[in-house]
Symmetry: C2
Subunit: 122 residues, 2 copies
């Protein structure tokens, strides 16, 4: 009688030591996914449906899986919702300073000019 998240697919997360740089870079090389990660840096944890990206739910699920399997985010279940968080510490252990450099780079470049892309900047 497990009452919460009993027989769901089980959310695969790679171990910190197994996170692959290529996977992380590929995961972050997509505008939608980078927006997700940027959002997550501000809000530590968020429900799936609450991200400021305008794609279909199934597409969003796909992006979450890419990020999750790359080791960038961690997802946990709570009732009918799935909460998503950045694996900040794990990433910093595996690739010190990398995620921060990328997020800072985004902010820095967008402060200098606004011509990058304005997906979900509101």
């Amino acid at each position: 009688m497990p009452r919460t998240h009993s027989r769901r697919p089980a959310l695969v997360h790679p171990d910190t030591g197994d996170i692959d740089l290529q996977d992380v870079l590929r995961a972050l090389a997509d505008p939608t996914r980078l927006t997700i990660v940027r959002t997550l840096r501000t809000d530590p944890e968020r429900a799936c449906g609450t991200f400021p990206v305008d794609v279909a739910p199934s597409t969003l699920t796909h992006h979450f899986r890419v990020l999750r399997e790359a080791g960038v985010i961690r997802q946990r279940e709570d009732g009918t919702r799935r909460w998503t968080a950045l694996r900040l510490e794990d990433l910093d252990i595996r690739f010190p300073g990398l995620l921060d450099a990328i997020l800072t780079a985004y902010a820095y470049a967008n402060a200098a000019d606004g011509t990058t892309h304005e997906q979900a900047d509101d």
Copy 2:
């Protein structure tokens, strides 16, 4: 009578301020291209054919173009050869610390375990 590189296609390089983070991440998210960049950090400038990657020449040209148009490398012509160099300073102006974080991440992760991929490590 221009004697060097007279009517070649003219090598398009984006201005430093136009370098796009998404493009850089996408460019670096490929094993072959990351190997090129890693090689370039050690050797400041190299001829095209001298990179330790085993792909067809035309494929190599393709990767050089991706890196060049992303603003990661700069290429200049000298006779029949084309020399390639990293745009270290430009990238550091545009995205401070980013390239170094990525290259350091690669070295760091590969020092911990050798299971990433060994393309051209000899």
